[in-house]
């Protein structure tokens, strides 16, 4: 609490009332007469004290002292003294609590977030019985922890549940949320570090801003990536010094295995980084067997240059996806070759007959106008089949190829068949699982199906698609639908082994993982992905996923230069002018808190004590004095 000042200092003039009180006391002072054998020694005793005899008279009188004390309290109360105290909240209040990553900085012990939480706790303590408050936790997706409530217990409980997030604070969403809850009499208090809060600066509504934290320095891994080269993978790490003094950083790279447990040191280096600058380090020849590489800041000198640890680690997946192999059995079909060749991760081999010996099975076999015997369990696309197979047989040619309908099939995703013209096509008779996908008046123009698993028998095809017409006798290859159709068909017939999952994500980012995939986060918690995708990416580190035979890794990294720059924005800090810093390091708005009621209460107490002593006749004094004179 700051010093005490007075709103009405002229009230001190009333202290002059002490003079008549003392005079009245002197006038009414009646000494009790006491006989003594001789006054000789007493006279000599008090002789040298006659000069201040007035004080000698006044000194032992406790009643006078109490009266003067009462007057003093009343006079001070009339001056309306006030103390500068942290401004409390009254009425309705909305507290926006910054929970962004920078709030984990430890430049305020134990952390900015804890200091801010204590500040909110102080606001809750100051609530009156009819006051209401709600707390909005501001992280990547701001939310109200409680509805507007006057229950301190609910507010305390909600506050205890609040945690920081590595996602940047979404101030515009938080302010929108606060605006929706706001009424004209509602006050908004923002408690945060003011770092990376451009939205906060732009907000127009009147709000108290209570910054927490100081000019915290931080060193962060600002970029980390693995690049595949002809000589293997190389890692690139960039470390940024966001502080105002030069620092020495020990950066190390470790390789991890797919199960995410064992790590081995690849390399370590000391980097000298000037204030406000970045340093880069490239390590070549990363072990191809490493499933991922982890970069970490192991040591910083001076230590106070790094008060935020969330950005001291980064992960990168060593992703070298194995390309799918496709065999095109054709005597030459430029359309097909181009369409297949344009697909990523697809290695196309063309032949006119089935190779005799191939060590690796093909992921996909495209048969174009050729009769061929395919290996069992093939994933095959037949274009213009010319001969029967053990699965299907060919029928008559039909030219009534007018489009009738198309089924909901993955191969037809974003494919509009209505504008496609086919000169003629062959009828195909197949098993029940081979279903027409596109129907024309004369028969199906495309069939697709997945062979059901049957015991004791190896299916010829696991997945089969048939286009029973010659591409050159249609305008399909000229349509925009053609490459889409081929890409869809290839993806359906031979899906990527690792699923189509990005290998890197930001904290809080939702990933479109396939439904049913099982994801294990860095803490070891397993979660099955539902239709909403996977959004539990709050924890930085390596995540592994699996769906059937497909599995893979992805990394969640807190690589955010804006959040790593944790120094409060001076423009926001300016709004906190006229503040003080409390014991938690939290800057608080100060308000004038009048203390006259307290002084008036003290005056009343002094008056009551004086009355009580008067009523009891000061027995203690009487005992000491002895009985009055007998004369």
């Amino acid at each position: 609490m700051a010093g005490v000042n007075a709103l009405n200092p002229i009230g001190l003039a009333l202290a002059l009332l002490a003079i008549p009180i003392v005079l009245l006391y002197l006038l009414r002072l009646r000494r009790r007469e006491q006989r003594v054998s001789s006054t000789l020694l007493w006279r000599q005793t008090v002789m040298d004290r006659e000069a201040n005899a007035l004080w000698q008279r006044l000194r032992p009188n406790i009643l006078l002292l109490l009266q003067l004390l009462t007057l003093a309290f009343l006079v001070f109360a009339l001056t309306r003294p006030y103390a500068l105290a942290p401004a409390g909240l009254t009425g309705r209040a909305i507290v926006l609590l910054d929970a962004s990553a920078s709030m984990e900085a430890t430049d305020v012990a134990p952390s900015r977030f804890e200091a801010a939480r204590r500040g909110v706790r102080g606001l809750i303590d100051g609530l009156g019985t009819t006051d209401e408050m709600t707390i909005i936790l501001v992280d990547g997706s701001p939310r109200a922890l409680t509805p507007l409530t006057s229950s301190r217990a609910d507010l305390y409980a909600a506050l205890e549940q609040a945690r920081t997030s590595l996602a940047p604070a979404n101030w515009s969403a938080a302010l929108s949320l606060a605006g929706a809850l706001r009424t004209p009499s509602t006050s908004i208090v923002i408690i945060g570090d003011g770092a990376n809060s451009d939205d906060l600066k732009a907000q127009a509504d009147p709000a108290q801003f209570r910054p927490v934290g100081g000019a915290g320095a931080n060193i962060a891994i600002s970029a980390f990536a693995l690049r595949q080269t002809v000589r293997g993978a190389s890692a690139l790490a960039r470390v940024t010094n966001h502080g105002s003094q030069d620092a020495t950083v020990l950066l190390s790279l470790r390789a991890g295995t797919a199960n995410g447990t064992a790590t081995s040191l690849l390399d370590a280096r000391e980097l000298q980084i000037a204030a406000g600058q970045s340093a880069q380090w490239t390590v070549n020849g990363i072990d191809p067997a490493a499933a991922y590489v982890r970069a970490s800041i192991d040591r910083v000198a001076p230590a106070e240059s790094n008060v935020l640890s969330a950005d001291d680690m980064a992960w990168a997946v060593n992703a070298a996806p194995a390309p799918r192999r496709a065999l095109l059995l054709s005597r030459g079909n430029r359309f097909l070759e181009q369409a297949l060749g344009a697909l990523p991760n697809l290695q196309v081999t063309r032949a006119i007959s089935m190779p005799i010996d191939f060590a690796q099975p093909y992921d996909l076999i495209v048969v174009d106008g050729i009769s061929a015997t395919l290996p069992a369990r093939s994933h095959a696309l037949f274009v213009n089949p010319i001969a029967d197979t053990p699965v299907f047989s060919l029928g008559a040619v039909f030219s009534a190829t007018g489009f009738v309908d198309a089924a909901q099939h993955p191969t037809l995703l974003a494919v509009d068949w209505r504008g496609i013209n086919v000169l003629d096509a062959r009828r195909v008779a197949g098993p029940g699982w081979l279903l027409p996908v596109v129907n024309a008046q004369g028969g199906p123009l495309m069939l697709a199906g997945e062979s059901p698993a049957a015991e004791g028998r190896t299916p010829e095809f696991e997945r089969l698609a048939i286009l029973p017409f010659d591409l050159r006798r249609s305008d399909l290859p000229l349509q925009i639908a053609f490459p889409v159709l081929i890409a869809n068909t290839v993806e359906w017939l031979a899906p990527l082994r690792g699923l189509d999952v990005p290998i890197s994500a930001r904290p809080g980012e939702a990933l479109a993982l396939p439904v049913g995939a099982s994801v294990v986060n860095p803490a070891g918690a397993r979660q099955t992905v539902d239709a909403r995708g996977y959004g539990a990416t709050g924890l930085p580190g390596m995540y592994s996923y699996a769906l059937g035979a497909a599995s893979g890794l992805f990394a969640v990294n807190f690589l955010d230069a804006r959040e790593s720059a944790i120094v409060p924005d001076p423009e926001v800090a300016l709004r906190a002018a006229g503040t003080a810093t409390d014991a938690n390091g939290l800057q608080v708005q100060l308000s004038q808190r009048e203390i006259w009621p307290f002084l008036a209460a003290l005056a009343l107490v002094a008056l009551l004590v004086e009355w009580w002593i008067y009523q009891r006749g000061m027995p203690a004094l009487r005992r000491r004095t002895g009985p009055d004179s007998r004369s």
Binding site: E33, V36, S37, L41, T45, P60, G626, S631
Partner: protein
């Protein structure tokens, strides 16, 4: 007359007894003391002023006066039994003697009893009384039993007694209310002897100063008496007469 000793000169001493040789040689004033070959005269002076008649709270009679009278009678009794001539006089001018032999004892007791029943001498002046007594005194031993609480002081009286050839010893009798006052607060003190008033606001500091003043007062009397070759003893009147006479005075050699 036989030479006995020297002592320092004090105002009031007979200049004829000065040792001029010592004065000439050393510049210091000493008087010669002689032992009277005749029987010694013992003078007992009992202060009967108002302050000596102080009746403390809870007392039915003045213990201070009673103790002083008992001391005076005890000394007189011892002197009479030693065959000395005894003169007994109070400040209220009651006088007895000179008497010799134990036959005078009853007369002393009657005088003391009579004096106890008489009103206090409110007009007493210690110096005046002692001067008057010195004018007709015989040289010898003099025992003054008094509280010495006289606004006019006591020095002139002591000088007069010394000048009359009396070796003065003082039994300074003070009661507990004088030695350790038990009063406090805003008081108007009334002197029972002179009826004078003194306003005091008593607190621990003032009481402390009183004790200091009392110590200085007794030390001054002791000093004045001893300079004149006499003895001094402060008597707390709450002490029993047996303790005073058989204990304190005997131990200090006042009584054989």
């Amino acid at each position: 007359m036989e030479f006995a000793d020297y002592r320092a000169y004090t105002p009031g001493d007979d200049p004829r007894r000065l040792d001029w040789n010592i004065l000439a040689r050393h510049g210091k004033t000493f008087i010669k003391l002689f032992e009277d070959e005749e029987d010694a005269t013992v003078t007992i002076l009992l202060d009967a002023s108002g302050s000596m008649r102080w009746v403390a709270e809870g007392e039915s009679e003045s213990l201070k006066w009673r103790r002083a009278a008992e001391i005076a009678l005890a000394i007189g009794c011892v002197a009479l039994s030693s065959g000395d001539r005894v003169i007994f006089e109070t400040s209220s001018r009651a006088r007895c003697g000179p008497r010799r032999g134990l036959g005078g004892m009853s007369e002393l007791i009657r005088l003391a009893e009579r004096e106890a029943g008489s009103p206090p001498d409110t007009r007493a002046n210690l110096n005046e009384w002692l001067r008057r007594h010195a004018a007709a005194a015989r040289p010898g031993l003099c025992y003054l039993v008094s509280d010495m609480l006289d606004p006019a002081g006591y020095l002139e009286g002591l000088n007069a007694l010394g000048g009359a050839g009396l070796d003065v010893s003082v039994l300074h009798t003070l009661c507990p209310d004088e030695l350790e006052p038990g009063i406090a607060g805003d008081l108007r003190l009334r002197d029972i002897e002179s009826a004078e008033m003194q306003d005091v606001s008593l607190d621990p500091a003032v009481l402390s100063r009183y004790r200091e003043r009392l110590a200085a007062f007794t030390a001054e009397i002791r000093n004045q008496v001893m300079r004149r070759g006499g003895r001094y003893h402060l008597v707390d009147t709450s002490t029993s007469i047996e303790q005073i006479v058989l204990g304190d005075l005997r131990r200090q050699g006042w009584l054989a």
